[in-house]
Symmetry: C2
Subunit: 206 residues, 2 copies
Amino acid sequence: MGTTAIAPWKQLLLNAMQSNSHLKHSSYFQLATIGINGRPANRTVVFRGFQDNTNKIQINTDSRTHKIEDLKQCPFGEVCWYFTDSWEQFRINCVVDVIDGSNPDPIKLQFCENALQQREKAWFASSPRSRLQYVGPYPGLPSISEQSSEESSLDDSTGPVDAFCLLVLNPEQVDYLNLKENKRVNFTARQSNESEKLWNSERINP
Amino acid sequence: MGTTAIAPWKQLLLNAMQSNSHLKHSSYFQLATIGINGRPANRTVVFRGFQDNTNKIQINTDSRTHKIEDLKQCPFGEVCWYFTDSWEQFRINCVVDVIDGSNPDPIKLQFCENALQQREKAWFASSPRSRLQYVGPYPGLPSISEQSSEESSLDDSTGPVDAFCLLVLNPEQVDYLNLKENKRVNFTARQSNESEKLWNSERINP
């Protein structure tokens, strides 16, 4: 059993991303949440990087999708990220912050001002084409016409629109499985002090 | 909106499996459940076919894994199956039957006798090598030595061991997304009569 201040699973994840980077889908993973009906929900999302120099994982999403309601009721998620070339799986249990464009809660004002900057940064980091989906038809509602987001347009300098939402996934437990080496390691955060989370790691049976 | 007695999403899924069959990982998908701690859980599993001529999806698992506890407490799951070559995603919300080797509940005896036959069939359909994992060290427990399932052996004619478990996923809702065609369809079972489930389908915004 080892203890270290730097998340030891993060280097494994960076290595896996590197060794699978020739595959476009290697930046996709599945995010499970609990639906407001109490049943599990699961969908593919796109990795948008770590937040600054932290272990927190960012994804972009549309605030009109069900996962936002899910997360506002139950803020936990589990990432399942399988790398098809290196046969490695990361199961990342996390607490998810939803950063939409709504007014920050005054109590969390300092955090939120920073968060809103992060949201703006994530918006401008995404391609003009992918930004257009956030002004398209309401996701999940019946298609009533052949409306297309192609008809919409956005100036490149326009900031994040209302539907644009940043999700920040804060890992608390990581289950790493390497099928080629038949090796599995469980990483658990010992302390949820934001500034310095301590991680235990333990080799477990696959 | 269309109504039909044959699950209309099943043909789409069979087509996707066919067009991605050159990729070994196309038979893998992610199954989300709700953990006994109330948080979502998510892992990669292997598709083992449909049960007979039904729409029910089979997977094999070890009865010593957490997902069995999860499912005994909350029998719902959501499959997220992303096909990396054709850019199609199936999100399949389902009720999961756990078929382990335990004595059948007398009330469900008729169902269970059939289920135990299914379990035996699934056991013999899996490779001798994959059967060995069920006599290996307890999954998820600390690795206490370099014990390996290689040391174990099983006669080819030996029936399912205690740890071998068949999961039967009974779909109730399917969300189909085709990213190449920018098309999304929601399929919902109108009736949970086992012998003939009726499905509605509706085109929705991606």
